[in-house]
Structure formats: structure tokens, C-alpha cells
Symmetry: C2
Subunit: 483 residues, 2 copies
């Protein structure tokens, strides 16, 4: 047979990313317009891969994307089925309408743009999801009290618009917090408060990228949401490999105008950038006039030794934009982060923020300012560090005990997750899929790479994991690998 | 004399906007780098205009911009002085550093970008500022209670990221609120929650503008922050005149791909778009494939008669993006607004939101959802409508009693401000400046126009005005016009 569907699937001859995009897009369109009906069982990944003459990884990755978008559902032991999209969205536009209007969109947004779906509140007994902190120990009572106080202040003030750079009290609190915790050299005037780290990336893309020209070098594997916003702004993205010392600086393209790095805890591998590489990267930036985006996303959680100096601390060339977030050390639905930028960039960045959404919610910013100033942030981080350290120890023990050398761990002593490579014989994306069917939630590192076929591994997040179940979760996962 | 400064000022021979930009930019740079020292008295506007051979309006507008940016300060009766910029920002970058690094910025952001400054909490006895609601009667106790409840829910849920389109409960509440209040036809799935209307404009610019190609037609005079974000995204902006029936649809450029309008209460003139023009605009959109951005920013406040149907309600061509905000009916520091868009645009817009900052603050959205669902929004709007209606009646009486025909009022029966044209003999920008020196705060409409010389008038905002002082404020203002 040509392939198991009753409509043509056309995939490019080469380029695994291109093939993945084409396969995903065509299945997605067929589900939306009803050629693939709700409830239909999709072919097994291996069968479809053979029929199409592509690697199984490609089919698995396409299914994974459709799963994450909610267009297909996995049923335990039975395979993947087309979801009931019509029920989910009665008013879904007829695809004809979408296609007819597509020319009205800017080029980047043409093609089947899927509605982004929120993280699902699935109840997985063994939850190793990446990127989530544990929100339960958060001192909500303190937050409620400070929040009520902020509202009282607001009710007495004139109802003005706020400061585009961020509330002065919050910038003050952030500057003193990171001066102390990370030796980042900054004044409140160097801080721009943003809606999470993601908005900091967005604003930087706006003010730094000349569409079609600016080259952004990223760690590969690396953080996909950063790539996505820079790609939309017209940057040319070049992946640079990562090894045990972090970004391989020697392989940076000479024309990179911006370099994005996560030196404290590389995302997703977890390695710490070595001092040697830090110096080399700063040299590169100085000699080429490049800007460095230093994403210090979960540097608060370090389990041994002294942290290395931030690139921002070492920078003598006004090159480093230091990005922090409260999504990991507090909670993500707060949507607060910040950028500390060199003086030449500050007015442009604040103006971009102003143009983008004027400023952040004043009451929430005031609440956080008081939370930091009164020492609650430092206390909460200390408390959580102990909790995560215990989970991490249990996890590392379990991996050693059960994995029989199948997991090669990336060395790391910080952060909210542990990364492990898998031998080529075990397909990480398929394993993740099988694990989900068995109550174990974890993420494949493959999708963090520019070429999903180039990386094969999984990440174990500590934020959502129940310490009592970590050992059993790992044991069951390894069991699945034998099947 | 050539001109009163000891350094060359070079202005283009023609184009009042170009001259304004050049004059502002060069004065701005001279203040930043110290050629114009703190405390120096600037030449009177007329003297500088004569010396430079430009219109006085141009100089007044340049001074006004510098005033709003905080680079110069006005002292009562004594004129304009260079501000102490060094004191304001000790760590201000040496201009040499800024200039040396300027090539690292994307082209749009090069040149002397001024740090955006927040609205000043000036204490003006007579405050007619535009764009501010009165926050004092807001039911803060209700908000505090609902906010504590939202926090309790959050503390019990897993700490997930939220929904990119906005919390479902808030979209539900918004959809039912505007279906009822504005007969806007929409489902919760058509709503994208944004950080104020400004982020809705930003997201639309992202997904609709092809840089250098897309033509955006705007009302002229009109809302400058909308122009600014579309300009940064590379749109070509074309101004279209406004008359007593709103946007002059017949003068729309044939290649306009996007048309921005404020039909309920034109900003800043306040006129309501006539039914005839509404139909003509929808016809234009249908025949040209154009998108209409309908900004319904203060439609909640209508003082007589039935509101006209929104363009969104009349639209049969999937052309209208309806934008609403809670900055006027609640308070601006909340930063919440929304877009209701046709189905073909929804996934792209939500994806752009996701790329921009993932989603809004979950707790604040939940609080607002409950506030709307429990009827507090409708109640607050009814309450405020009475308050503003009284202020408006007092204002209109005072203008009639004192103005001796100098103010030509734009007819309007809605919104938070009243607009008035002035005869050419009275320069609105100079009047506003003189008024500020005399305790009266109001805004010139001139700066809302693409060519500040093309419009001459002022707006009287009702949000910050003390009803007891409106009459006296108008009397004093008219007195100043005689000098």
C-alpha cells in the first residue's frame, strides 16, 4: 500500500524537520476538515513510517505534536485515535474560510496554525514533567496579605497608568535580590520587568532583530519558545552544539549577532557552562560586537558548591542581557520575569515594552516587591531547595539502581530537572508515549533539538514529582524499556 | 542671529513632521550629552521659531514632547528650562556608549530613543486629563474578596501555566457581557484576552503586517499608540480625515489592508460614526479584503439614546476585529483587555499571544471573571455613568457660559471626554502649556494628528475632574486665552 489513509500525503524527499512539518500539517488539516474522522484509530507509528518511507522518529514526533495539541488522543494499550475536535470547538472555522482568508495574514502566520493549548491537568501517578515548580508549599497566606495591602495602596492613589519599566519598588527589590543572590551588577534603572522570561525574549527580538539579516545562535538542543519568537521576528536561527562544558563556543558562526545561552543549567541537558567557555563567549561577543542573552531560569536551585559567576557579572563589554523569571522560584501563572540590560539597550527595551502592553499589572508587581523586600522570596527558595534536593537524591539513586546503564545522565548540580540520554535502540519519543499510557509523565529531549533525530533522551522534572513515588516511577519506566 | 544655541541645529526644508522630529531629536541629544546644561532657560517658542524659520507650532510641539519626556521642565510664568537629567539617572549611559552600540539595534530603534516615562501624579486643582477613569468609586472591597477567593483556588490547583487565549471563565464572562451590552456576536472561543487594548493592537500588528507592504489606514487625528506599534512592525501608515460622521470612508486609500476606527466615540474628536459610513466601511472591507480594527474603548459610557450597532455586529465578511478594554470601565493599572476576532484569525492571534508572553496573570483573570459574572461590572458601569454624566453636563454648561464661542465643540453623547476645536489665533499647544502653569491640566488634540499643525484643539477629560471645580477650571482657562 502507498499509505494507510484515503487521501494523499505528500512529504519532501529529504530533511527530517521538513518531513515532520509536512506530516504534522497534513494530518492536522485532515483532522480539522473531517477527512480523518473522530474516533478513527491511527496506524501504528512503525507501520506508517514504513508506508511513507520515513523514519519512525518522524511519525512519532508528528503524533506527539498532535497529541499535545489535542487533535489525537492516546488510549492505554490501544494506540492513538482522532480526537473529537468538533465537540471541542463547535464554532471551528470551516477550513475553506481559513484558507480563503489566509492571504490576509503576514507570511510567517500562514499555513495551518494550530490553536495553542494549555498544559493539561492530567493526573499522572508518576509525574516528571519539565518546567514546573511545586506550588503547594508556597506561602499563599503571606501573598494574600501583601496583595490586600497593595490593593489598599492602589485604592488610595489616583488611577494612573504605571511605569513601563516596571514598578520602581519591584525593580529596587529585584536589583537587590540578584545583586545578593547572583552577584549580578545592576541598579533598579537597568531592570525592565516583563511578563515572564518569554516577554523579555520577545522584546529583545523586537529591538535587536533586523528581519532576514540578524543571525541568532542558540544552544542545540535548547529552549524552543525562545527560538519560536525570534523566528517570527525574522531572525536567522543557527544551532550550536552543547557538550559537558555547555555551548561549544568554538562552533559559533562568525556572523552571530546574538547568542542565547543558559549557562547555569543548560536547557534541557542541565550542564553548567565551564569558566573557560564563559570567558571564550565573552571574548567572542566583544570581538564580534555580539549580544549575549543569558537566561538564568532556575539558578536559584543549586545543590552543591558555589555557583559560577554569571556572564553578566563578568561582562566588561556591555554585551550581556541577563534574564530572570519568577515562574520557577514562585509559580508560573504569576507571569513575572525581568531583563537586566546594558545601558545602551535600556531605553529601547522599555519603549518596546511600552509599545507592547504599556506596563505590567501594578498590584501584582507591588505584591511581589513587598514579598521580596520582606525576605519571603529568599525564605521560600531556601525551603524549596531542600525539597527539590531530596527529590533529586531519590531520583539519582533510583536511576542508578534501576537503569542498568540505559540512561546516561548529564552531569549537573542545579535546577529543577535531570536529563538523561538513551541508546539509539530505545526511541525516546516512543518511550514517552508508552510511559504516558502507563501513568508516567515525562518529556523527550528530542523535541528541544532543531533536528529531533539528532538527540535521543528524556528529562526528569522534580517540580511535579511525588518523592514517595519517584523510585517506583523510574522502576516502571525501565520496565517499559524492556518491552 | 542664526539661532539661540551654541551648536548647529539642522532642520529639513519642508515637512512639518520631519522638522518636528529633527528639532526634537537634536534638542533631546543636546540635553542628554550636556551641550544644553541643566537649568538653562530655553528660548521662548516664538523667538526660536523665528530664528529657525519654522512655525511656532513646531517648536511648541517639540518642547511639549521634551516636557512629557522629562527633559525640560516648565516653571510658572518663567518659561522652559533644561531638566537635571543627570540627577534623574545617575547611571545614564554616556551618549558615546549609546552611539557606539546603536548599530546593534534593529533599524526602527536607532536614534535617540527616550526612556518612556510614566504618567505623573501631578496635583492639578483643575484636572481634565484624557484617557483616565475615576478610580475612587471602584468597589475595592469586592475586588479584594474575589481576589482572595481566586488565590485560594490557585493554591489548591497544580501550578500549571495558564491558557494562552485567556482563562476560560473570563472569556465566558466577557463573551456574555459584550453580547448583552454591545450585541457583539461571539462565543468564548472567539475571545483572546490581552494585557489591555494595546497588546491586542500589538498582536494584530504581528499577525497582519507584512513589513514594508501592508497599508494601515488610521483616523487622522487618531490614537497615537496604535500608530506607533504598527509603525514599529513595518506597516505603512496612511491618515484618513474624520468629520462629524466619523472616518471619511470615501477617502480610504484603495490599497488599505487594515482600517483602524473608533466608531462609538472617535478618539480624540468624540464623534460617533454614522450608520451610512458604517455600511460603507464594511462594503470597503468586503470588496477589498481589508480587515477592520474596531476599538470600542469607552463605549460603556453613553449618555443618551441607543448606541449604534457595533461594526462587529453588522459584519458579514469576517472582517472585523473588535477590541475592548477594562482600563476605562475599571482601572488602567489592571492591564486587561480583549480582542474578539473572526475564526480565521483566532488561532494565529492566540499563537502570537503565546509567543509573546504565554498568557496573562491567572489570578487576576479569575478575579475579573467572578467580578463580571456576579454583576459587579454592570453595576459599577451604571454607577460611573451617572457620575460622568453629571460632570459632562457641568462641563458643557461651563463651556457654553464662559467660552464666548472660542471653543467649537465636537458633537458627542458618549465617552470620557469632550473635544473642542480652537480658532487658529489661539495655539492649543501653547494654551495647554500656559494652563499647566496655572494649575489646569488638559491635553492638546494637535499631537493626535499625523501633522500636528493640521489640528488645533483641546480635550476635556471627565475621569480626573472634580465636579465642583469644572466650572472654575473652564473660566480660568478662557481667561488665559485672552492674554
Amino acid at each position: 500500500m502507498d499509505h494507510p489513509f484515503e487521501f494523499p500525503l505528500e512529504l519532501p524527499d529529504r530533511g527530517s524537520r521538513q518531513r515532520l512539518a509536512a506530516l504534522h500539517g497534513q494530518l492536522h488539516a485532515a483532522i480539522l476538515d473531517g477527512r480523518l474522522k473522530a474516533g478513527l484509530r491511527l496506524p501504528a507509528t512503525r507501520a506508517l513510517a514504513d508506508a511513507l518511507g520515513v523514519s519512525r522518529n518522524t511519525v512519532v514526533a508528528a503524533y506527539d505534536l498532535l497529541l499535545s495539541e489535542g487533535y489525537i488522543v492516546a488510549r492505554r494499550g490501544a494506540g492513538n485515535f482522532v480526537a473529537d475536535v468538533a465537540a471541542r470547538r463547535q464554532a471551528a472555522p470551516a477550513p475553506a474560510t481559513v484558507a480563503r482568508n489566509e492571504h490576509r495574514l503576514a507570511p510567517y502566520w500562514r499555513g495551518a496554525i494550530a490553536m495553542p493549548t494549555p498544559m493539561q491537568r492530567g493526573a499522572f501517578p508518576y509525574d516528571f514533567r519539565l518546567g514546573l515548580p511545586d506550588g503547594r508549599p508556597f506561602p499563599y497566606d503571606v501573598w494574600r496579605r501583601l496583595s490586600a495591602r497593595a490593593l489598599r495602596h492602589l485604592s488610595k492613589a489616583a488611577p494612573l497608568y504605571g511605569h513601563p519599566q516596571g514598578n520602581p519598588a519591584l525593580r529596587e527589590a529585584i536589583a537587590s535580590h540578584i545583586s545578593f543572590a547572583r552577584a549580578v551588577a545592576c541598579e533598579p534603572d537597568d531592570v525592565v520587568v516583563t511578563n515572564g522570561a518569554q516577554q523579555a525574549f520577545d522584546l529583545l527580538a523586537r529591538v535587536l532583530v533586523t528581519p532576514g539579516k540578524t543571525v541568532l545562535a542558540v544552544e542545540d538542543p535548547g529552549y524552543a519558545p525562545l527560538r519560536s519568537v525570534f523566528m517570527a521576528s525574522g531572525a536567522r536561527i543557527v544551532g550550536v552544539p552543547v557538550d559537558a562544558e555547555g555551548l561549544v563556543v568554538e562552533e559559533l558562526p562568525g556572523d552571530a549577532a546574538i547568542v542565547y545561552v543558559t549557562p547555569s543549567h543548560q536547557f534541557p541537558l542541565g550542564v553548567v557552562m565551564s569558566p573557560r567557555r564563559r570567558v571564550a563567549l565573552l571574548d567572542f561577543a566583544r570581538s564580534r560586537g555580539a549580544v549575549i542573552i543569558e537566561d538564568d531560569y532556575d539558578s536559584e536551585f543549586r545543590y552543591s558548591g558555589r555557583p559560577l559567576d554569571a556572564l553578566q557579572t563578568l561582562d566588561r563589554g556591555d554585551a550581556v542581557c541577563y534574564i530572570g523569571t519568577f515562574s520557577k522560584c514562585l509559580f508560573p501563572s504569576l507571569r513575572l520575569g525581568y531583563a537586566v540590560v546594558p545601558p545602551w539597550l535600556c531605553a529601547a527595551l522599555a519603549s518596546a515594552k511600552y509599545q507592547s502592553d504599556w506596563h505590567g499589572n501594578v498590584m501584582v508587581q507591588d505584591t511581589l516587591a513587598a514579598f521580596i523586600a520582606e525576605g519571603h522570596l529568599a525564605r521560600h527558595v531556601r525551603h524549596m531547595r531542600k525539597i527539590y534536593a531530596e527529590r533529586r537524591d531519590v531520583l539519582l539513586d533510583a536511576l542508578q539502581q534501576h537503569s542498568r546503564g540505559l540512561f546516561r545522565l548529564w552531569s549537573s548540580d542545579a535546577g529543577l530537572h535531570v536529563a538523561a540520554s538513551l541508546p539509539a535502540s530505545i526511541d525516546a519519543i516512543a518511550l514517552v508515549e508508552r510511559a504516558a499510557d502507563n501513568g508516567i509523565r515525562l518529556d523527550a529531549l528530542n523535541l528541544c533539538a532543531l533536528d529531533p533525530a539528532a538527540v535521543n533522551g528524556v528529562g526528569f522534572g522534580l517540580g511535579a514529582a511525588d518523592v514517595q513515588r519517584i523510585g517506583e516511577g523510574v522502576r516502571r519506566l525501565v520496565e517499559l524499556m524492556d518491552r
